[in-house]
């Protein structure tokens, strides 16, 4: 009897320990976010003090509007939205189409092509970055948003792979019935498969939105003019700029992080489930 009480005590201690470690790590992962937010609403006098102030005495919410106008962030926002939304449409349409082709047809060279598709995911972007720059330069696309949008209309290997796996789980009987009724493959794809692909398309959409919205190297290499900058590029130039204080940088950083964070909270179960089933992210 004494032994079982001791056991229970031991179990409780273990539980407490697990919670303590989890809480400690959570604090470590969240502290930088808190530091960003609290800095963003500080007044200049409370910014550079040691020890740091955990909560500002006055919440300066107008820091956000003030910081946003120091640089033409509205222009950057418009560019980011154009790039992200247009490439999102292209990515979803093309990746789904190609995925359907790989999932539902037997044709000569299919398996070889699919292996090539998978292998191409291993090529580091840095290797193709220089020739891509020269290619876009020859096309006259440098300093336009095209290099950040057009390639998305040709599908991305990882998304094609992911969508193909999803389509293969859908029973083929419906499409066979439709074919007997005279529907062509494109009609089957659009009317029967697309409506069933909801969760997979959401997952691809979220991943693409995050990578496009957060992209820095693409804009850095392909854009020169400030009028063409995206938000991440605008933010990177913000630091070290004369007269720009930390509270402005943190305010803009917070605003740029907001859409991905909101999207993550909305689509959390798709993301977590998606990574769990595929095991990879671009």
């Amino acid at each position: 009897m004494f032994g079982s009480a001791l056991n229970r005590w031991g179990d409780l201690m273990k539980k407490v320990l697990v919670y303590a470690v989890l809480a400690l790590f959570s604090l470590m992962f969240l502290a930088p976010f808190y530091w960003m937010i609290t800095t963003a609403i500080k007044s200049p006098e409370e910014l550079y003090v040691f020890p740091p102030k955990w909560l500002p005495t006055v919440f300066n919410f107008d820091n956000f509007a003030k910081a946003w106008t120091i640089q033409p962030f509205n222009t950057f926002l418009a560019n980011s939205l154009i790039v992200t939304l247009l490439s999102l449409i292209g990515q979803l349409a093309s990746s789904a189409l190609v995925a359907y082709g790989f999932a539902r047809f037997r044709f000569k060279g299919r398996d070889t092509l699919f292996v090539i598709l998978l292998a191409s995911m291993m090529i580091p972007w840095e290797v193709t970055m220089i020739p891509l720059y020269m290619e876009f330069n020859a096309l006259g696309w440098i300093n336009t948003l095209k290099p950040l949008i057009v390639p998305a209309f040709f599908g991305a290997p990882f998304f094609i792979f992911l969508l193909r796996q999803f389509i293969m789980t859908i029973p083929i009987e419906l499409e066979e019935a439709a074919r007997i009724d005279g529907a062509n493959p494109l009609q089957s794809f659009v009317r029967l498969i697309i409506p069933l692909m909801g969760p997979a398309l959401i997952l691809v959409g979220v991943f693409h939105f995050l990578s496009s919205w957060n992209d820095y190297l693409g804009p850095l290499i392909f854009l020169n003019d400030q009028s063409k900058y995206t938000l991440t590029l605008g933010l990177s130039q913000f630091r070290g700029m004369y007269g720009v204080e930390m509270e402005s940088i943190m305010a803009v950083t917070f605003l740029i992080c907001l859409p991905p964070l909101i999207l993550f909270f909305i689509a959390q179960r798709y993301i977590v489930g998606g990574i769990a089933t595929t095991g990879i992210k671009s």
Binding site: F50, E126, N137, F154, L210, N214, L220, T232
Partner: protein, 307 residues
């Protein structure tokens, strides 16, 4: 006769339909991946400025890189040192967090969110936040260190500590790897642990005899992706330190980037890129080759048990 012709065209059409579906990817692959890859190899044999005369130089770019460019070795050293610290730490932390989350604790969803949150924001935003966290005078990190009586360094301006700062900031974004481990852990059958507990195995023995072998394919996958990501480290260096101080965070990818877009040596930078590509390929192959020694696939194990 007429119907026969019709049928053969419709048959041909039938045969081309699949290719029409995958055509976007084929065009994109040639235009944005394969073409550039080949082009990159070609110009690596040229002296190729962005504007001006292009001249064929044979292997001179590669020769210069290996024999006459101290920055090549500096950046390689920075990258390898980073990888030696970052690769194991990243895997250990991600695995530890995944194991804790797997313990059926209440609120594990909230903890999971906290650990994954940094992975959804931009690398630029991440760099901005850490630049302020690392601030030598007013930064929150040195404040925490001062609480335990340590006087923190001026992280980003100190050649010894700046590379460490890069590792810590990169570890903050381990979320995806943690989720992959978590999914792997959930796939390990519970009865393995129960059976071994009856046989008197302790937690440590269970970890090394069950968890690690069962998870080894996942560990292999994460190992490869982390090694590749260490060689691609660029955003953080560009935004946070600009490669400094004293080239202490001058990563290989940054060396390549500067050769191309700062010094306009496209041919030379392409030679750099191909060297990186080959190193990454070789490392991946080495990890794969070694994997037969330490990766256990379930199918194999079952076959082994039967035999």
């Amino acid at each position: 006769m007429e119907t026969k012709v019709k049928r053969s065209t419709s048959l041909r059409l039938q045969k081309t339909i699949p290719y029409l579906f995958i055509m976007p990817w084929i065009i994109g692959f040639i235009a944005f991946t394969l073409g550039p890859l080949i082009f990159s190899l070609i110009i690596s044999f040229y002296d190729w400025p962005i504007v001006g005369e292009k001249t064929f130089v044979g292997l001179a770019n590669f020769k210069e890189m290996f024999t006459d460019d101290p920055l090549f070795y500096t950046s390689l050293e920075v990258t390898v040192k980073f990888a030696i610290l970052f690769v194991p730490l990243n895997i250990i932390i991600a695995l530890l967090l995944a194991m804790l989350l797997n313990k059926n604790v209440k609120g594990s969803g909230l903890f999971r969110t906290a650990f994954y949150l940094p992975s959804v924001i931009s690398g630029v935003a991440l760099a901005m936040i850490w630049a302020w966290v690392y601030d030598g005078e007013y930064g929150i990190l040195n404040y925490f260190l001062s609480l335990v009586g340590i006087e923190g360094p001026n992280w980003l301006n100190d050649p010894t500590w700046a590379p460490i700062a890069m590792v810590i900031a990169s570890l903050w974004g381990q979320g995806t790897m943690m989720l992959i481990f978590l999914a792997g852990l959930k796939n390990i059958p519970k009865d393995l642990y129960e059976a071994s507990a009856i046989d008197g195995a302790g937690k440590v023995a269970q970890f090394f005899k069950i968890t690690v072998p069962m998870l080894s394919p996942t560990i292999l996958f994460n190992l490869i992706t982390t090694i590749i990501s260490a060689f691609q480290q660029l955003t953080l260096a560009l935004v946070l330190t600009g490669g400094g101080p004293l080239h202490s965070t001058y990563f290989y990818a940054m060396y390549m980037y500067e050769n191309a877009f700062k010094f306009s040596k496209m041919g030379y930078a392409s030679a750099n890129a191909w060297f990186m590509f080959i190193v990454v390929l070789l490392l991946t192959m080495m990890v794969f080759k070694s994997s037969s020694a330490w990766v256990y696939y379930e199918g194999e194990m079952k076959a082994g048990q039967k035999g």
